[in-house]
């Protein structure tokens, strides 16, 4: 039935999270037309941003800035990888640095001990992380909420202990030197190549996130985030879904770690298995907005640039801890949904055109609803009992519409 196709036109773009994140249209001409305009704008913005990002290496004034760009991009990779778990399921892991470190060390050790070619080792490193993630995920996902966070922190602490303690194999605190994959390249060229490699990895992750976001699997994961018991009761195999998300998230983080190892060339457990790295991932994703495709990327650009700037201006002081702490506390207290929804609401609040559409929506809803109710009444007006129902329905429906209108306008004020 053609129900509510025009209400959809006004609200659907709000619900989408990425380019083309809207569901497949179920017909309805005007809807498709309007969305295409929106899509064009989105696509344009996306292309401009991508072009800006990709032209960064040629615009960077010196190799130092370029290397900072690589670092920021590696942050973007890890934050996006984190968001496969944190964003979809709402399970906050503070220990994702463990996957990063495992990926980095696996890659490095596979090159050193098995003399594999760097990128084969990198891929195998991802497989190693995947294999390690399975038992960890099975154990960690037996509990929810706070216990899960505890387990995730414990995991990074235990890996740190092991990699520091087992120094015969890992080099311990003396560090581990990774052979450079392109020994013939000069340093700026090396940075440039890795900038694009990280960008490609990020692209793959974003594509995967986007695909999951609009899949039934993603729907199940989001249901877990909203209400896990309820999702189970509706038949979502929550345990397997969560485990799958955890594996994807861990493996991608591991791949980012492996890439970092190849780029940076020197590993130390203190930095690779640092709880701070895990905290940065959470902060970046939260700051940008965990429910949005580009949220972690945006957060990484902001936090990553700030961190690099801090490092350059103030050197290695404790102040970056304080700054990170304050920013994290502010985000948690005042902006737990992140910048993207906050900015969108700001735009919506100051766009008069938008609000008029809102009002129209309420009116349209009322109209639509009357029609639908009448139609329903006509359809079910067979027996007396059914007729009674439709009459009942008419009354509650009207009440419902008022509620919806109020909810629609209330939403704008509330946010």
């Amino acid at each position: 039935m053609p129900s509510a196709s025009d209400t959809r036109s006004s609200t659907a773009p709000d619900d989408t999270t990425g380019p083309g994140g809207a569901g497949r249209p179920a017909g309805a001409g005007p809807w498709r037309g309007r969305l295409t305009t929106g899509r064009l704008i989105r696509l344009g913005a996306f292309l401009v941003c991508a072009a800006l990002l990709l032209s960064f290496p040629s615009m960077a004034p010196n190799p130092y800035i370029l290397s900072a760009g690589v670092v920021v991009l590696s942050y973007a990779c890890t934050a996006t990888a984190w968001n496969f778990m944190g964003g979809f399921t709402g399970y906050v892991s503070l220990g994702h640095a463990a996957f990063f470190g495992l990926g980095a060390y696996s890659t490095a050790l596979l090159i050193r001990d098995l003399e594999l070619s760097p990128f084969v080792a990198w891929l195998l490193g991802g497989v190693v992380v995947l294999v390690v993630t399975i038992p960890v995920g099975v154990a960690a996902l037996r509990v929810r909420g706070a216990s899960f966070v505890i387990v995730s922190i414990s995991f990074v602490l235990i890996t740190l202990l092991v990699f520091q303690g087992w120094d015969a194999f890992t080099g311990g605190s003396n560090g581990l030197v990774v052979p450079r994959p392109f020994p013939e390249l000069l340093r700026p060229e090396h940075h440039r190549v890795f900038f694009y490699l990280f960008a490609a990895l990020l692209g793959v992750m974003l594509l995967a996130w986007w695909a999951i976001d609009r899949s039934q699997f993603g729907m199940g994961l989001k249901a877990v985030r909203e209400d896990e018991d309820k999702a189970q009761a509706l038949g979502v195999p929550t345990r397997n879904y969560k485990l799958a998300a955890y594996l994807i998230s861990g493996t991608f983080t591991g791949l980012a770690g492996g890439m970092y190892a190849l780029w940076f060339g020197d590993l130390d457990p203190i930095f690779q298995f640092s709880i701070m790295l895990g905290a940065y991932m959470v902060l970046m994703a939260l700051l940008g907005g965990v429910r949005h495709l580009f949220g972690p990327l945006l957060g990484a650009l902001i936090v990553g640039s700030a961190l690099e700037y801090f490092k350059m201006e103030f050197g290695d002081t404790q102040l970056h801890l304080v700054a990170t702490a304050l920013l994290l506390a502010l985000v948690v207290l005042f902006m737990p949904d992140g910048i993207i929804p906050a900015a969108r609401d700001l735009v919506r609040r100051f766009g008069p055109q938008q609000s008029s559409i809102r009002e129209m929506t309420a009116a349209e809803l009322l109209e639509r609803n009357r029609e639908a109710a009448a139609e329903a009444a006509a359809r079910t007006a067979g027996g007396t009992a059914a007729g009674g129902t439709a009459g009942d329905g008419d009354r509650t429906d009207d009440g419902g519409t008022d509620g919806a209108g109020a909810a629609g306008s209330g939403k704008e004020e509330e946010r």
């Binding site: 709402g90 906050v92 503070l94 099975v138 154990a139 960690a140 037996r142 509990v143 929810r144 909420g145 706070a146 216990s147 966070v149 505890i150 387990v151 922190i153 414990s154 995991f155 602490l157 235990i158 202990l161 092991v162 520091q164 303690g165 709880i275 701070m276 905290a279 959470v282 939260l286 002081t317 404790q318 102040l319 970056h320 801890l321 304080v322 990170t324 702490a325 304050l326 994290l328 506390a329 948690v332 207290l333 737990p336």
Partner: protein, 294 residues
């Protein structure tokens, strides 16, 4: 390992377990009243140790006297933290977001300690620092014994407070069933604030005890939070006796393993215990049904 060494480790394990038990009791209090996992607990522990060290530096008095400052100060901070910060979080995401918030507080404290007192390692030198007592063949440092006595005394006080006083009753009622406690007229928000203060006071006492005997540095708290978290999960979130037993068992275990394995590997015991608990009994070995849900 000969028996003398074994006994020595056992005694040291008990002494360590006592401190763990006190600190884990604090964590359990926060979790009980607010369902908050307080990552910053061990950061406050280190802060108290630093204050004790600084107090000793400045006045030359015994660091134990710094308790007169830190205990009321931390109690106040705890109440303020609950009333001003934790209650601002949305109830729906309270558990996750409070973890992040307290994590931020931990980082803040670590950063500020490093900023104010620098990252240098610190240690209090006391006239009795090197003294030890012979106890049935085991040689036990006096400072360790004092630390244990302090922890045991505080735990006993906490126990009496919980069992005997009206406030303790209200606190236990709030921990067990918040809505029911509200129904019988307990102002659970106030109780939660005081519970937080009490929890943080254990960190003040623990930190002072720690300062007698340990070399301290700003990032030391990460070495404490992991074991403490493991203890409260193994013991069953929300159960004070459970965590006390787990603290003792794991403290002794760590102390015994230290001899053959060394300090680094002995610490992994906590994580092994944590993962074993999750696989065998996710609700903890002594806890109720709360644990798995939070």
């Amino acid at each position: 390992m000969n028996t003398a060494l074994l006994f020595q480790s056992l005694v040291l394990g008990v002494l360590l377990g006592g401190l763990y038990a006190l600190l884990a009791a604090g964590l359990t209090l926060y979790f009980g009243v607010m369902r908050v996992v307080m990552i910053a607990h061990s950061a406050f522990l280190i802060l108290a140790a630093y204050i004790a060290w600084y107090f000793n530096q400045q006045t030359g008095w015994d660091p134990l006297f710094s308790l007169l400052i830190t205990v009321p100060l931390f109690f106040g901070i705890g109440v303020g933290m609950q009333r001003l910060l934790i209650t601002r979080l949305r109830p729906a995401t309270l558990t996750m977001m409070s973890v992040l918030l307290t994590f931020a507080i931990a980082l803040f404290i670590e950063g500020m300690i490093g900023f104010v007192w620098s990252g240098t390692q610190r240690r209090i030198q006391l006239p009795y620092s090197g003294d030890s007592i012979n106890f049935l063949g085991a040689s036990v440092a006096v400072v360790k014994l004092m630390a244990f006595a302090l922890a045991a005394l505080s735990l006993a006080l906490l126990y009496l407070l919980m069992k005997k006083s009206r406030f303790g009753q209200a606190l236990r009622a709030t921990i067990q069933h918040k809505e029911a406690a509200q129904l019988v007229g307990i102002r659970t928000d106030r109780v939660a604030g005081l519970g937080f203060g009490l929890g943080l006071a254990t960190a003040a006492i623990g930190g002072t005890a720690l300062s007698l005997d340990a070399t301290i540095y700003p990032s030391l708290h990460w070495h404490w939070i992991g074991p403490l978290m493991a203890i409260i999960v193994v013991g069953g979130l929300g159960s004070i006796p459970g965590t006390a037993i787990a603290a003792m068992v794991l403290g002794i275990g760590q102390s015994l393993l230290q001899v053959p394995l060394g300090t680094t590997w002995a610490q992994t015991l906590f994580y092994v215990a944590l993962f074993a608990t999750l696989m065998l009994r996710p609700q903890g070995f002594f806890g109720g049904r709360l644990a798995q849900r939070f």
